[in-house]
Subunit: 461 residues, 4 copies
C-alpha cells in the first residue's frame, strides 16, 4: 500500500525530485550504531523502555559522565554524529514519531523532579553588557567557593576583561586555576555533553543565544532575568543563591521546548538551457538530476523568517508542505514560528498566541499584499519548504532566530521541520507547568485594559 | 450638465426608485422661513456672514434668550421644525455643504473663547447610581447658592428621590422653590433651546445619554468624569467648583462633534405578486411606486449597528453608498461609526482609530464570514443604506448608540447620513484641541507595552 | 507527589470547590464493566492491543452486528452508558490520554482501508429542501434496488412527504416494505450503533446536523455536497452511484475529527446571605458546599459560543483553564473552536486557520473591547470554563455548533473539554489526508488575489 | 490670543526648538510675488476668485501657453520657485487652508469638463518592457500622424532603442524631425509646465513613476492599463485611439489626488558633550541652536515608509504630530499613507481602506511588537515627524513611494505633511467620481467569497 511518506534517501538527496520518496512499507535503514551523549536523548531512551527504567530512575538521576558511550539502539532518530541525521532526511513517519517522542518525554519530565550531580557549570551572558559581566564574576566566585567539585566555564573573552577581573578571582584560591575554565563556540559545538547545566544571565535574548551556541545537544538551561521575567527567563537573579542551592541540592523540573531545523538548499546550475521551474523541481516528477545542494542546518527556538531584506519591494515565495504546493505568497516575507516563538516575531506579524506545548508550526505572512491571507497552524510533523521562484525580481533573505541573515537567490529554498534536538529549560521546582497565560498577561499585557477608577466622593470636596 | 446628486423630494419619498434624483442644476426649494434657536446654528449663521458678524461677536456671546425668534434665511440646511428637514431629504450637494459647514464652524470655534450668560443649567446623571444622585444634589445646592439668577433643572424622578432629598434643599432658601426645576424627556425634545448648558455627571455613557435626550438642538455639554477621564468626559468632578466658576466667568472652548442621522425605512407591501428585489427598489429604475415608509429618525454620536440580534446565525445585508450598490455582507452585522465612535464599538469590530475631526464615516463588518473584508473609510457626505434582502433567512436588528433596538424585516433598510445637529462639547479653556492621542494612550493603552525593568544589582544580595 | 490533576469525583461534583482534586497517584476508579458498541471505540480497543488485533484485522472489518455486546475492559475512557462518563469527570491525565488515543487512532486509520459489511444505511438531509428530498428518494430507490440486504433509513417525516412519495417507492418491490425504515432523533440517541453508515446530502450544515443527531457514538459519515465541496462535504453527488458502489465494495479511508463536550453548570442558590464570587467557587479553596448542578452535555464539532445574545451591550466573562483563572473578557462573546471549526465562526471572529489534525483548542474573543486581545491556542487536554460573574449586568447565551441557544444567568458557567466521541468522516479512497490547504484556498479564497491580466497587443487595434 | 500654530520661519528653521512657533495672530509674511505655471494652481486661483473667473471659464479652458507669466497674489501657498515654499515651512493655518483648497478645487473639478488645447504630449512607460516600448512607438506614430500641431515627447533613451526605431519613424514625414522630441528627468524637473498631458502606459507603477518625475507641478496624467485596470490606471489601452480622440476633442474630468511632502532632517553635530534627546530637540524648549538640517523634499502619492531596512531586528521610532510627542513605536517600521496609498503598502501593514477623497493621513505600524497598536487616522493638516532616537541600536531607512531608500541615523527625522502639489488624474468623461468601491472589489477582491454553487439535479445522473 502506497502512502504519503516524505523520505530523503542519503543517495537521493541530490537527485531531481528526490525530496519525496513514497514508500510506506519499506522505511529507510537508519544507522543502528548510535552514540548519544545527549541529556535529553538518554532520558528519551529510558522513557521509551518503561520496563527497565522506571520513572524513579530519573528522580535521582546523575549527570552524564564525560566519557560514557551510549550504545543503545532504540534512540534511532536521535544521534548527533551520523552524517545523515538531519530531520529533513527522515521519513514522514520518522519525523512524526520523533516529534511525538519529544512531546511525550516532555510531558513525562513535567511530572518528574530531576536531580543532577552538577560538576561542570556553564555561565552565559552578553559580554558587552557591563552589568552582566559583573554578575558573571559574582556568580563564578560564589560557585567556585560553594563547592570544590564545581568547574565553572565562562566565555573566553572574559579572560582579559577588566570588569570580570579573572586575575583577582584566581588569587582567591589555588584550586580556581584548575576549576575556572573558558569556553568558546568551538567547544560548545564539539563537546556540549560535558556541561551539566547552563546558567544564562540576561533576557530572552540570552536564552536564544544559548540555543544558537548549542545547535545540537543542549544542556539544561537555567535562565536568570536581570529585571522582569520574560517568556524564557524563569528565575529572578536577585535570589540566585537560594535558587541555585535549592536547584542543585533538591532537583528541578525541566520543560522541553521543541526547536525547528532549517536548511538552506542552494540551486545547482546544471548548465542546461531549459527554463527552471522551482515548483517542478521540488514536487515534480522530472528526470533524476541534482537540483539543489544543502548548506549547514540551523536549529532554532523561535522562528525562521524569509523576508525582503534590504529590498524596498515585496518578494514572491512559493510555499510547500510535504509534497504539496500550498500557495504563492506576495509579501514582505514569511515567518515560520515554533509555539515558543509565537510571542516573538509571529506576534508582530499578526499570528495567534500559541501555548508552547502544542505540537504545531505557525505559518504567518509578513505584510501580505492581499486581503485574504490569514495565519495558518500546521502539525509540526510537516516539512515546510519556502522557495524563491526562478523569475523572482529580487532575492530574499533567510534569518534564524533573528541571526545569521543568509541571502536566497532565484531557485534556492529553505526546508523547515521539527528538530531532533529540543531545548531543555529548567523550571522552578514548584512550577511544573509553564504559567503561560500569566506570561502573556504580564509580558504582553494580553487582554488588558485600563479599569475606570471608581469615584471616591470623600476624596475631595 | 447632469451630476450625481442624491435628492429626496418630499413628494418623491414614497415613490419607487424615489431615493435618487439626478438634477445638479435645479436644487430643490428648501424652506426659506426658518426658525432656529439652536446655539450651534446661530453661531453657524454668524460664521457664514463674516461681514456682519465678526468672530469677536462670539467672544462675549450671551446665551440665547428663551423667546428670541431668529429669522435669518442663510441657515437653510439647519432648521428644526420644518417637516422635510431630515438629512436624507437633502441633495448630495446640500449634504456635502452641510457637513462642511459644521466642520468649518467647529474649526472656527476651536480658536474662540465662548462666554455664556448662564441662567438655565441642566444636570444629567444616571438616577440609578446612588453616588451620582448624591453628587447631583451637592451640585444643585452649590449652584443655587452660588448665583441667584441660576435656575437648576434636574430629572423629574429626583423630585421624590430620598437620596436627592429635594425637600431639605428647598428649605434652605425660599427662592429655590422657583429656581429648582424638573426636566423630563418631553421638555428636552420640545424646548432644548432654553438650556444654556448641560452638566453631565458620570462616564462616556452619560454623554451618550445627553445625545439621546437632545435629538436635535443640543446645548453645550460639560461632562464630569466620576473617576478616570474618558473620550467624552473632559473634567474631573473632584474640582467641579473651580471648573464651573472659571467656565461660567471666563468662558470656554467648544468642540463640535458630528452626529449621524439614521432612519429606518419600512417596506410597504403593495400586494403585487412579483418577487421583490431590494437592490432594484433602492437604486433601480423601476415604476413610480411607493416602496418604503420612513419611521422616526435618530441622531447618534457613536454608531449605528445593524446586527443579528438574538439570532444564532449570521445575517446578510446589502450595502449601498449614494446611488451605488457597494457589496453584500455576510456577517454578524455592520457597524457604521462616526469618528467620535471610532473608539467604541468600531474598535471592538476591528476598525481603525480615527481622530474626531476627520470628516469621514467608518464602515466595519462585525465578524464577517470572509477572509477579505477590511474596514473602509468613506467621506461623511455619503448617504449609506443597509438593507435586509427579501430572501433573508433571518431578520436583523438596528441599534442607535447602543440603544433602542429595532427589528428589521425582509425588505426594510436603514439610511445613515451626517446630521445637521452636531454635539457641542465643552473643553477646558486651555485645551482647544482634543488631545486625542493622549486619550487613546491613556484610555485604551494604545501601543503600550510593559517595559522590561532594569536590573538594580544593589537591590539585593 | 502531588501534581496538577483535574478530577471530578462523582461524589464531589456538587461540592463547593469540588471541581479540582489534586491526586496524581490515586486515579479515580472508573467503571470497569463497559459496554461499547461504538465503531470508533472498537477500533480503538483493537488499536491499543496490537498483539491480538493486527491492523490487517480492520482491512476486512465487518460492520458491528446489532446485538453484539462488547465487554472489553481496555476502553475505560470510552463508555456510553455509565453515568459518570462525561469528559468533565475525567482526571487531567485521563483527559490527556483520551485525547491522545483518539489522535493516534486517527493517524492509524488514515493509513488503513476500511471495509464495512454494509446493511443499515442512514440517509440524512434537510427535509425542508425540496431538491434534497427528491435526491433522498432517488438515493433510497437506488440503494434498495442495488442490494437486497440493504435496509435504508430515512427521516420519519418523509413517510408522508409527497416529494419523497414513499407509497410509490414501496410499490416497486414487496421487500421494500420491510427494508425501507424510518428514523427519528430518539432512535439516533438510543441505538446509533445499528447504522453502518450515514449518507449526508447537503452542505457542511448537514454534517453538523449529523453531529448533533449522534451526540455520542457516531457511525461513519459519508457526505455528498449538492454543489461545490466544502470543508466537511467530501464527495460530489453528481457521481454518487459510482462513489457508493466503490466505497461499499472496495472500502474507504476514515478521518476522525475530535469533538468537544460542553456542559452548562447552573448556579445553585444556597440561600446563604454572603456575596457569591464565581472565581472563588470555581477555583477557590472554600467550604464543601454544592455550588453548581450540571445540565445535559453537548458534543460539538465546530464551536461553543458564549455571547451577548439579544443584549445590545457587551458581556463580561471569566475564563478558566484547568485550575487557573486566565482572564476577564469584555466582549460580544467568546468562541471556543475545535480545529475543525477554525474555518467557521472562529474565522469570522479573527482566529487563525488551523489544520484539523492539530490537538488544540482555539479561544478567540468576539469583538473584544480592548486593543490587546489576541486569539490563543491551547492544548486540547485542557478543561476550559467560561463563567458569568455574579455582578454581571446582563445574562449571556451559550450555543453549541450554532444550535440550542441556552441562557446563562449570573453565576452559571460552561465547561468545555475534548469529547470521547469523535466524528468519523469517510474520505475518498485515494485521499487519506485532508487536502486542507486546498480546502481553504478553494472555499475561503485564502491568500488569493486577482492576477493582473497580461496585455495582448494583438487583441485589438 | 495664543493658539496652536505650527510655523517654520525661514530664519528659524535651523534653530533649536525652531520647528514650532506659536503665533496665531501674526502670520508669517509669505512671498507675494508668485510666478506659477501650474495647471492646478491656475485653476485654483480661478476657483478662489469666483467673481472674476466663473466656473464656466474652465469648461473651455485652454492649455497654459509656455510663456505666460501669472502674477496673481492670491495663490500665496502655491508657488513653485520661491525657496521657502516647502509645506513644512507653512504655518498650521496655512497648511490647513492649503489642504482644504486642494480638496475644494478637486470637488469643483469633479463637476467640470475640462478641455485642453493639446500641443505637447508626454509619453511615459517602462523602457525595459519591450511591449511598452513597442506600444510607445505605435502611440507616437499615431499621434504625430493625427494632428500636425502635436509635439510628442518620449524618453531620451528611446532615441537609440531598436524596438522604438526612431529612425524609421522620422522617415515617415519631414515634420516629425521637429515634432518628435525627447525628455529626460532634468526637463521634467525644470519645465514641467510645457507638457499639456502625460500619457502613461503600464500599471499603477508607471503612474507612481510619473509622480516621481514631476515632483512639483504635475501635468494632467492619462493612464492606460496594459491589462486589467488598477487603482490609478483608468483606461484600457485596447481602445486608446477612441479614448484619446474623444478626450482631446471633447474634454475630460480631472481628479486631484493629494500628495504628501516628506523631508529628511539630518542631525547636526554641534560638538557639545551633553547627551542628545531627540524629543527635547523636536518639541522641547531648549536654547536657540541649530539641531537639524533639511535635505531635499519628496512629493509622494502613496506613502512614506520608515523601516528597519536590512536590519534583522525591529527599530524604535519616536512619532510626533504637530507639537506633540505621540508615542514610541517598536516595530519593523511605520507606514504613513495618503488615502490614495491606502490600497498599497498600508493595506499590507493592516490599515483600513480609505476613499481617496478623504482629507486624512493613515499612520500604521509595520509589525509592531505590541498587542495594542491599532492603525490611526489623522487629519491631513497635521505635520508628522518620525525620529530615530539617539540611543537607537540600529539605523532606520526611509523610502518614498517605494523608491529612493535613504538611511536615517540616530537623531535624524523625517517630516511629513500635505504637499502643495497635487496629482491631477484624468478620468473618463462619463465618470466624474472614483468608482472606488468597484476598484477595491475588483482589484483586491474586497469582501469576496466563493459562492456555493447550486446543485443542478439534471446535470448528471
Amino acid at each position: 500500500m502506497v502512502e504519503d511518506e516524505l523520505l530523503y534517501h542519503e543517495a537521493a538527496i541530490h537527485r531531481r525530485r528526490s525530496s519525496i520518496i513514497t514508500t510506506w512499507d519499506t522505511p529507510v535503514a537508519v544507522s543502528t550504531e548510535t552514540i548519544t551523549d545527549c541529556f535529553v536523548h538518554q532520558l528519551l531512551d529510558g522513557h521509551r523502555k518503561p520496563t527497565d527504567s522506571s520513572p524513579k530512575h530519573f528522580i535521582h538521576h546523575s549527570a552524564i559522565p564525560e566519557d560514557t558511550v551510549m550504545s543503545d539502539k532504540s534512540g534511532e532518530y536521535f544521534h548527533s554524529h551520523a552524517e545523515h541525521s538531519q530531520s529533513r532526511l527522515l521519513s514522514k513517519k520518522q519525523l512524526s514519531d520523533m516529534a511525538f517522542n519529544i512531546r511525550e518525554l516532555s510531558k513525562t519530565l513535567s511530572h518528574m523532579k530531576l536531580k543532577l550531580k552538577v560538576q561542570n557549570i556553564f555561565i552565559l551572558g552578553k559580554i558587552h553588557d557591563t552589568t552582566v559581566v559583573q554578575l558573571s564574576r559574582t556568580l563564578a566566585e560564589w560557585l567556585l567557593a560553594k563547592n570544590r567539585h564545581y568547574r565553572v566555564y565562562v566565555e573566553d573573552t572574559l579572560e582579559d576583561n577588566s570588569e570580570f577581573d579573572a586575575k583577582s578571582l584566581l588569587a582567591i584560591d589555588p584550586s580556581y586555576e584548575r576549576r575556572l575554565k573558558y569556553w568558546d563556540t568551538q567547544l560548545c559545538a564539539k563537546a556540549p555533553q560535558i556541561f551539566d547545566v547552563v546558567i544564562a544571565l540576561g533576557g530572552d535574548g540570552t536564552v536564544l543565544y544559548a540555543s544558537w551556541l548549542f545547535q545540537r545537544i543542549v544542556p539544561p538551561v537555567l535562565s536568570f532575568a536581570m529585571g522582569s521575567l520574560g517568556f524564557l527567563t524563569k528565575f529572578d537573579f536577585a535570589n540566585h543563591q537560594d535558587i541555585l542551592t535549592e536547584t542543585f541540592d533538591q532537583g528541578f523540573n525541566v520543560n522541553l521546548r521543541v526547536r525547528f531545523e532549517a536548511t538552506v538548499m542552494r540551486h545547482v546550475d546544471n548548465g542546461d538551457c531549459v527554463a527552471n521551474d522551482v515548483i517542478e523541481e521540488i514536487i515534480g516528477s522530472g528526470a533524476e538530476q541534482v537540483t539543489h545542494n544543502p548548506e549547514r542546518d540551523h536549529h532554532i527556538l523561535n522562528e525562521v523568517v524569509v523576508d525582503r531584506g534590504p529590498n524596498g519591494t515585496m518578494i514572491t515565495l512559493e510555499v510547500f508542505g510535504d509534497n504539496e504546493h500550498f500557495t504563492t505568497v506576495q509579501a514582505d516575507g514569511i515567518c515560520v514560528a515554533t509555539p515558543t516563538g509565537s510571542t516573538a516575531y509571529n506576534l508582530a506579524a499578526g499570528g495567534s498566541l500559541c501555548h508552547p506545548d502544542n505540537p504545531v508550526v505557525l505559518l504567518t505572512a509578513i505584510c501580505a499584499h492581499t486581503l485574504s491571507f490569514r495565519p495558518i497552524i500546521l502539525p509540526d510533523s510537516i516539512v515546510l519548504r519556502l522557495a524563491v521562484p526562478y523569475d523572482a525580481r529580487t532575492n530574499a533573505w533567510a534569518s534564524f532566530d533573528g541571526k545569521e541573515r543568509v541571502e536566497l537567490r532565484a531557485g534556492d529554498y529553505v526546508t523547515i521541520s521539527a528538530s531532533r534536538f529540543p531545548f531543555p529549560s529548567v523550571l522552578p521546582l514548584e512550577q511544573n507547568t509553564e504559567n503561560w497565560i500569566d506570561s502573556i498577561s504580564r509580558t504582553l499585557n494580553w487582554n488588558s485594559r485600563q479599569r475606570q477608577k471608581a469615584f471616591n466622593p470623600d476624596a475631595k470636596s
